[in-house]
C-alpha cells in the first residue's frame, strides 16, 4: 500500500501541472506584497533612494554627448511632456531591427545613431539613470504595449520562455509566478512577477537594477544559465511580462525588498 502511495505521489510530481494564467482581476503588483515600511519608502519621493538616479537621469537628459554634440533634450525637448507614457509602451517594435527592442536598447540606439556616442553598458549608472528618468515620466500610467501581427512571434517566444522548464531545478517561471504567487519561498513572498516598477531600487541590491538583472537573479535561483544582457531571448521575455501586466499602472522607480 505504501509502495502504491509513493508511486502515485511520484507520478503527481512528475506530471507537469499546466500553468494557468492569472485572471486580470487577480493581478497584483509586487507593491501589494511589501511591508508597510517598504511601501512608505516607495510612496514618498523624498525617501525613495531611486530618486537619486532619476535626478541624475534628468541631468544626463540635458547633457550633450558624443560627436554629434547633442543632448537628448535637443531632439526630444522636455521629457516631462515628450516622454510621458513612452516607457509604458516598451518593449516596442523597431522597424530597422525587425524585432522588438526594450527601453535600454532604444536609448543606446539613439546614442549610437543620433548622438554618435558609445553605447552605455547594461547596468551602468548612466543607463540606469536615463531609464529611471524615462520610466518616471510614465508613473501611474497603464502598461500599453503593441500586440499587432509584427509583435506576435516575439510575444509567443516570450510566452514559451516563461513556460519552459529550465535549470538544474527544472522549473519554469510560470510554476512560481502563475501557480504559486500567493505562497512564500524561504520566508519571502513569491509574487506575480509584474515588470511595472523597473528600473527599481531593490533593498537586497542596495542600488538600482534593471528588469533583466532581476530575471538573471531568478535564473540563478533555479540554477539555469541566464542569457546575456540585452539578448533577444530576454527582450522577448520582457515583452511577454509586459503583455501579462497590460493595463497595470507603472510605479517606476519602485522600491522592492
Amino acid at each position: 500500500m505504501r509502495v502504491v502511495g509513493t508511486v502515485a505521489l511520484l507520478c503527481t510530481l512528475a506530471v507537469p501541472v499546466r500553468a494557468v494564467e492569472i485572471p486580470p482581476a487577480e493581478r497584483r503588483s509586487g507593491y501589494e506584497f511589501m511591508s508597510r515600511e517598504t511601501r512608505a519608502m516607495q510612496d514618498d519621493d523624498a525617501a525613495n533612494p531611486a530618486m537619486l538616479w532619476v535626478l541624475e537621469g534628468e541631468a544626463l537628459w540635458a547633457r550633450t554627448a558624443g560627436a554629434g554634440e547633442r543632448a537628448c533634450r535637443d531632439c526630444h525637448g522636455d521629457a516631462r511632456s515628450s516622454m510621458k507614457g513612452v516607457a509604458a509602451r516598451y518593449p516596442a517594435f523597431d522597424a530597422t531591427r525587425g524585432r522588438p527592442v526594450n527601453l535600454e536598447q532604444r536609448v543606446n540606439a539613439c546614442r549610437t545613431e543620433r548622438q554618435k556616442a558609445p553605447a552605455l553598458a547594461y547596468q551602468s549608472r548612466e543607463l540606469l539613470a536615463l531609464t529611471a528618468y524615462l520610466g518616471r515620466q510614465s508613473r501611474g500610467l497603464p502598461i500599453d504595449i503593441a500586440t499587432d501581427a509584427r509583435m506576435k512571434p516575439f510575444l509567443d517566444a516570450g510566452r514559451a520562455a516563461f513556460n519552459r522548464r529550465q535549470g538544474q531545478l527544472d522549473l519554469s517561471c510560470a510554476q512560481c509566478h502563475d501557480d504559486h504567487w500567493d505562497k512564500r519561498l524561504a520566508g519571502n513572498a513569491i509574487t506575480q512577477a509584474h515588470p511595472n516598477g523597473y528600473p527599481l531600487y531593490r533593498l537586497e541590491w542596495q542600488g538600482l537594477g534593471s528588469l533583466q538583472r532581476r530575471m538573471r537573479n531568478c535564473m540563478a535561483g533555479i540554477r539555469a544559465l541566464a542569457p546575456e544582457y540585452g539578448s533577444a531571448e530576454f527582450v522577448d521575455l520582457e515583452l511577454f511580462l509586459a503583455w501579462r501586466a497590460r493595463g497595470m499602472k507603472m510605479e517606476t522607480p519602485a522600491v522592492r525588498p
Binding site: A47, N48, L52, E56, Q206, G207
Partner: protein, 106 residues
C-alpha cells in the same frame, strides 16, 4: 550621481515643528566584505552628518558600517526664524557633500 535629496518645507509659522528629510548617495561599503578572490573590500562609509540652522547645530549623527547604502535621515526641529538650513556629510576617502536650503518663517 546626484549628491543628495533634501526635503524641507519652504515656509513655516514661527514655533511650528517641521520635518526635515535627507537622502544621500553613498555605497556605505562596510570593510568586512571580500571579493571572490578573497581580498578585503576597503571600508568606505560616511562617518558624520551635521545639520545647522543659521549656523547653529541642531542635529548630528555618527555613522557606522552597519548602515545601509544611500542613508536616509529624517528628523524634526522647531522653525524659529528665516534663514538657511545647511547639511554636511563627511566620511572616508575625503568624502564631503554639502547642501543647504532656505526657509522663510513668518
Amino acid at each position: 550621481m546626484a549628491g543628495a535629496l533634501i526635503n524641507v518645507p519652504a515656509s513655516a509659522r514661527r514655533g511650528e515643528i517641521i520635518e526635515i528629510k535627507t537622502l544621500v548617495s553613498h555605497p556605505m561599503e562596510t570593510g568586512y566584505r571580500r571579493t571572490q578572490y578573497g581580498t578585503v573590500v576597503p571600508r568606505d562609509i560616511i562617518r558624520q552628518f551635521v545639520c545647522t540652522y543659521n549656523g547653529e547645530q541642531i542635529f548630528r549623527a555618527e555613522f557606522h558600517p552597519a548602515i545601509a547604502a544611500n542613508p536616509f535621515i529624517a528628523f524634526t526641529t522647531v522653525a524659529t526664524e528665516s534663514g538657511t538650513i545647511a547639511f554636511l556629510w563627511t566620511g572616508d576617502n575625503g568624502y564631503a557633500v554639502a547642501e543647504s536650503v532656505k526657509i522663510s518663517v513668518a
